[in-house]
Structures are given as structure tokens and as C-alpha cells.
Amino acid sequence: MATEFPSEHVVTIRPTRGWVPVNLRELWAYRELLYFLVWRDVKVRYKQTVLGVIWVVIQPLFMALVFTFIFGQLKGISVPGVSFVLFAFTALLPWNLFTRGLSEGSTSLVANERLVTKVYFPRLLLPASAVAAGLVDFTIGLGVLATLMLYFRVVPTIAILAFPFFVFAVILAAMGIAFLLSAVDARYRDVRYTLPFLTLLWLFATPIFYPLSLVDEGWRWLYALNPMVGVTEGFRWAMLGGAYTLDPALTAVSLAVAAGIFVAGLFYFTRTERRFADTV
């Protein structure tokens, strides 16, 4: 059988140096693999557990209840408009998406070491899929939030339309950091030991269990450099309606930082990508 060989499919392999552009066309060609990697992560995540996917509901709800019990008793903290559980849970949704993406994404290259050393595909798909897999849990969490809102009779305003935009910002920030840290982790395993501290510090630096009003106005610009500040506030504004307003400057700073982190992570990743198979 004479097979025709399309000569347009030509690949040149040569050493690269310095910054490398992101190969968007190739990423697009491998989009199905992204889907399968996400699918794998979701499938495997709750295998061999008794409660299975119920954990997705229990984890943030339990966390919100515990913190409500602790912080809700503090006299100094008052949250505007809604019950503390709802206040905390609304912020925990994007926060869990973020931290899960952070921890799974940052260790994804090492966790998939066999793939990295035995098969060629755009390595960006590994941290990207690890972050994206969190969206499934997130969607289930949204259902819980809707239930809570029904229970507390909170009606969202038109601002809810802005909500996907903030989800997008979480993904950007989480992917950016996951790109950066997974690339470092491929060489230095210190990353996995640093992650818990990083996450804990980040939690305190985000208005999840306390309102933004606790932070002195003069320092808010600095505070907003944490992209999760703008995201958390944006989430509350979008979901909880009237009681919350959006600080446009603060939001803009946070979102710009999220985008900046994404771009920086992307470039660092593609720059170091050539070493992965040798060092991971």
C-alpha cells in the first residue's frame, strides 16, 4: 500500500535558548488531551472513598461551620448583611478552587514524571489540567452555595452576571502560580514543603473569615496585590447582592496582578520546559 506522506507536517528539533514563545497552535491540537487529563483527575480523585463525591460538599461546609463557630463569636468581627456561614462559604468556594489548583498544579510535573520522561506533549497541559480539574468540585460547591442562599433567603442582584469573570481570574492566578511552581518543583523538591506555609499565609492575607473593612484603608492598595482579595470581594458582590459593593480600584489591581502572575508563570514555564525530562 502506497501511503502518501503529507510533507507539511515538518518538525525541526534543535537546541533552544532563552525565552521561547508559547506554541498556541500545538496547545490547540492537544486540547483533547487536556480534556482527558482533567477527566482522569476527576475520576480518580474520590476512588476508594466511602463518601465519594460527598466530600466535595462536606469539606468547605465543615470548614465554614468551624470558622463560623470561632470567628462568629468574636465581638470585633461583624459581617455586613448576611449570616457568617454564608459570608465564609461564598469566599471559600473560590479559595478552595485556588488552593487546590495550587497544590495539585504545582506538583503535577513530578506526579506525572512517567509521562514527562516517556511521551511528548505540551507539558503546560499538566499543571493546566490539574487546576482545571478543580472546576468540577467548584461547580458542585456552587450548588451548595445556591442551597445556602435559598435557606438564608438571599437574592442575588444583576451583579451575578459578573461572577464567571471572577472564576476566570481565580483560574488565571492559580494556573500562573502552578506553572511557576511546577517548573521549580521539577528540579527542586523544596516546593512541596513550602506549599503548606504558602497556602496558610495566603489564607490569612485574604478576607475569607474576616471582612475587608478590618483592613486599614491606607493599606488596601498593598492588600489588593493579593489577587484573591479582589476575587473574594468580587464573589461576595456577585453572589450576595445588595449588602456588598465593589471597590473598582481594588478589583482592578487584584485582577491585573492575577493576569500578571499568569503571564509570568507561563513564560517561566516555557523557558524551563526544555529541562523537565532531564531533571524531573
Binding site: V10, R14, P15, F36, R114, V119
Partner: protein, 431 residues
């Protein structure tokens, strides 16, 4: 498409830092290294550029590949042979774009699939069905493609009954079959295969080879690394011999294999000097055995390939009329072959105090299996040194008869050259 080759490689080189496997796994070491190397650089060579191969010949680096150039035409099946650590896997990794070369370049025309490991990306918690999709996607198949070939893959892997069982309950053999089955259904223009046929049982290996022959005969380009010389002989049209990162032989498969066997792959000597379980007068002492020939590993011999046993000895003085014999025992302790100098009429007239006997087989006749060798040296017909179980060898499938076939397991131990003919009556058939 013109006459452009499928693969064109020029001066390809890949350098690793020694100990790249674990260079500095902690940041602290890296920082220390960065600081010190900066000092060194400012001291000796202020214009020194990081990343430039400052001293490629230095001890800190090793070239896994160097100055490798070749061209592969569309439809060629190329076998790459060489001893362990020759750079074969590195070459395949560079061509598969898993790792970047340090210098030189390669140009590849056509859709490439590389199979460096069977079942890459299998997740043990997922079922066979799920893993087919996952593995297929990882190897570059689209979902529609996998769905179309799904039935064939399952049939090829012979795991119909267990398709919805998690892979972690599979036997190793089943896992390998499934992995190869997925890979076998790729339809690349260029297929790059590392030594993956070393796994799985013999019957399945044959099936995989058959599938790969199919790929090659369809006019696809195949690059194939294997220690199985028979497989390379059957499958490949061209061979490259690789050692120490360089190509030492190119061209006709049989020539390259012969050159490889002559120059490389010598077995380290099995020392016998310390053995006390020996019988005989002790006039001669056998001190070691070495085997050279078509080995796929240090003690594995390919059936039908040229093999030489070298038996080193020490003697108290010169002796006359010395004979040397090698006995081959099967796993039940039955002697299945004797190679004895006196039977060949090759009794050694005189031996000196120190030397080596050589026993050479042009085509090693033992069929696949494990054999123990006993060595016997006698002077004037009297046993001088006899060592039972001196060495154990493993024989693997090879092309003894030139037909690519061997009798099934259990049908004897030894192959022997013979021929078949047919004579028919020339008269008209009886009415």
C-alpha cells in the same frame, strides 16, 4: 513530497551533567552553587556566558550522544543496536522531542508516534476501558479515533472479560498486552519504538512483532531499538550501531550486527578461582569463564547467534594431551549437549602454565531456556579439574534456522541444521 527524507539528523549531540539524575535537589545547594560559580566566573573569565559549553570535555559532563548524523528515507525500517548505555534511548528521546539536544539538529517529516514504554500514563485506579482512552489520548489519538478502534484494541489485548475491571487488579502480562494493544493501533507515519518487546510472554511478543512488521510493510517509517537481534533482522532494512554516543556502523542489518557482536558486548568474566567444589587431580585449575557473542544482557545468549566461550586456566607446569569439555545441563539436570575437544579430534597437544581455551559456536544451538554448564579439563584422559554448575546461561529466541521460527517450548533443547526435500514419482498418475 519530493525526495526529502523522513528523518534527517545532523551533528546531533546531547550532553548531561554527571549526576544529572540528582544534581542539586534542594534550593540551598543551588544557591551555594550559583554563588560559587559566579565567583569562579568573575575570577577567570568575566565575559563567560552561562549555558555556553564552557569546557565540553570536562569531567563534569558526559556526552550521551555526539556528532550523530544520518538520514532515514520514508518507508525505511531502521534498527538501532548497541550495548547498554550506548545512547540508544537518548537518541530516541531526542527524536521524540522528550528532551532537547545540546547541539545539532534533526528534522522530521510526518506524524510521529513514539513508544518508549508500554502503557505510559496508565492509572491503576481506572478500568481497562478508561485507560484505553487515557493512554490513547496521551499517545496522540483523538477520541473519535480511539472509539473507532476500541473493539480492535480490546481484542488484540485479549482482555475482553476484564475491560471494566480496574487495571490495578490486572496481571503484569495483561497490563503489558493492553498497553501494547493501544500503541499498536496508532497510525503514525513514523513510529519510534524502544525496547518494549522485552516484556510480555513469548506468544504475545511474536504478535507484537507481527504487528510491527505490518506497520513497516505498509510503507511507514520505523525506528526500532532492540536487543533481540532476530527481531531486528526480521523487521529492519537498515541498521545503525551505536556506542558511546556515536554511530560506529551503518548499513546492511547483518553486517552491522556482525560488527557489533565482534567488537562489543563482551561478558565480564565469571570468576571460578574461589570455587572449592571441584574434583580432579588439580594439575590444571580453571579460573574463569567468559562468554562473548549476541548477548541481550550479560548472561543471555541469542539462539542461533555466534557465541564463544573463553575458559581461562592456570597449570602447575606445561602439560601434554589436554582436553577441555563443556557440558550443558537442562533445568532437570539432564545433560543435553557436550562440546568436547577430544570428540572433535582437537586434543590440545601441549598447554602452557597460563592461558585460555576457546569453544566457538557459529550458531548457538541451544533452544530458549536456562542451562547450567559444567567444565571439565583432563590431562591424558585423567580428570584434572571438574566444576559442576560453573555458570548458568539463559538462551532467548533467535533466528537459528533463518526462518524466524523455533520449535515451541518443550519440543527439545537443541536445534540442529538439517534440510527437507520432496521427491515425487515422475510417471503419470495411475488410472
Amino acid at each position: 513530497m519530493g525526495n526529502d527524507p523522513a528523518i534527517r539528523v545532523r551533528d546531533l549531540g546531547k550532553r548531561y551533567r554527571i549526576g544529572q539524575i540528582a544534581p542539586y535537589k534542594t534550593l540551598r545547594d543551588a544557591i551555594a552553587h550559583a554563588v560559587f560559580s559566579r565567583f569562579r566566573r568573575t575570577g577567570s573569565n568575566p565575559a563567560g556566558r552561562a549555558g555556553a559549553p564552557s569546557s565540553p570535555g570536562s569531567k563534569d559532563y558526559i556526552w550521551a550522544l555526539r556528532n550523530v548524523s544520518f538520514e532515514v528515507q520514508h518507508g525505511d525500517a531502521v534498527g538501532v543496536i548497541g550495548p547498554n548505555g550506548a545512547g540508544k534511548s537518548t537518541l530516541l528521546k531526542v527524536l521524540s522531542r522528550i528532551t532537547e539536544p545540546t547541539e545539532g539538529w534533526a528534522q522530521i517529516r510526518g506524524r510521529v508516534s513514539s513508544l518508549l514504554e508500554v502503557g505510559t500514563g496508565f492509572h491503576h485506579e481506572l478500568t481497562g476501558r478508561e485507560n484505553i482512552f487515557l493512554n490513547g489520548a496521551i499517545l496522540g489519538m483523538t477520541r473519535a479515533e480511539i472509539e473507532r478502534k476500541f473493539e480492535d484494541i480490546v481484542k488484540f489485548a485479549e482482555i475482553e472479560k476484564f475491560i471494566d475491571t480496574p487495571v490495578k487488579w490486572y496481571s503484569d502480562g495483561m497490563r503489558v498486552r493492553l498497553g501494547f494493544a493501544v500503541a499498536a493501533h496508532l497510525e503514525p507515519e513514523i513510529l519510534i519504538v524502544d525496547e518494549v518487546l522485552a516484556v510480555g510472554d513469548a506468544a504475545f511478543q511474536r504478535k507484537c512483532l507481527g504487528k510491527m512488521e505490518g506497520v513497516a510493510s505498509e510503507g511507514r517509517t520505523v525506528i526500532f531499538v532492540s536487543h533481540n537481534m532476530a527481531a531486528i533482522q526480521n523487521l529492519c532494512t537498515v541498521a545503525y550501531g551505536l556506542d558511546h554516543g556515536r554511530i560506529f556502523a551503518t548499513g546492511n542489518v547483518n553486517d552491522v550486527i556482525t560488527q557489533y557482536l565482534e567488537n562489543y558486548d563482551r561478558l565480564p568474566i565469571v570468576p571460578l578461582g574461589d570455587r572449592t567444589d571441584r574434583r580432579g587431580t588439580g594439575k590444571v585449575r580453571l579460573t574463569g569463564v567468559s562468554i562473548s557473542g549476541a548477548m541481550s544482557s550479560s548472561d543471555t545468549i541469542v539462539c542461533g547467534s555466534p557465541v564463544t566461550f573463553g575458559i581461562a586456566y592456570e597449570a602447575a607446569q606445561r602439560f601434554r594431551e589436554v582436553d577441555m569439555s563443556v557440558f550443558f545441563y537442562d533445568q532437570y539436570g539432564t545433560c543435553v549437549l557436550v562440546a568436547a575437544s577430544d570428540i572433535l579430534g582437537k586434543t590440545f597437544a601441549e598447554i602452557k602454565e597460563r592461558g585460555k581455551f576457546f569453544c566457538r559456536f557459529d550458531k548457538f544451538p541451544m533452544l530458549p531456556g536456562t542451562y547450567r554448564l559444567a567444565l571439565d579439563c583432563s590431562v591424558k584422559g585423567v580428570a584434572a579439574d571438574f566444576i559442576k554448575d560453573a555458570v548458568t546461561i539463559h538462551v532467548v529466541e533467535g533466528d537459528y534456522y533463518g526462518s524466524g521460527k523455533l520449535p515451541p517450548k518443550g519440543w527439545g533443547h537443541v536445534a540442529a541444521s538439517h534440510d527437507w526435500d520432496l521427491e515425487t514419482d515422475s510417471g503419470p498418475p495411475a488410472a
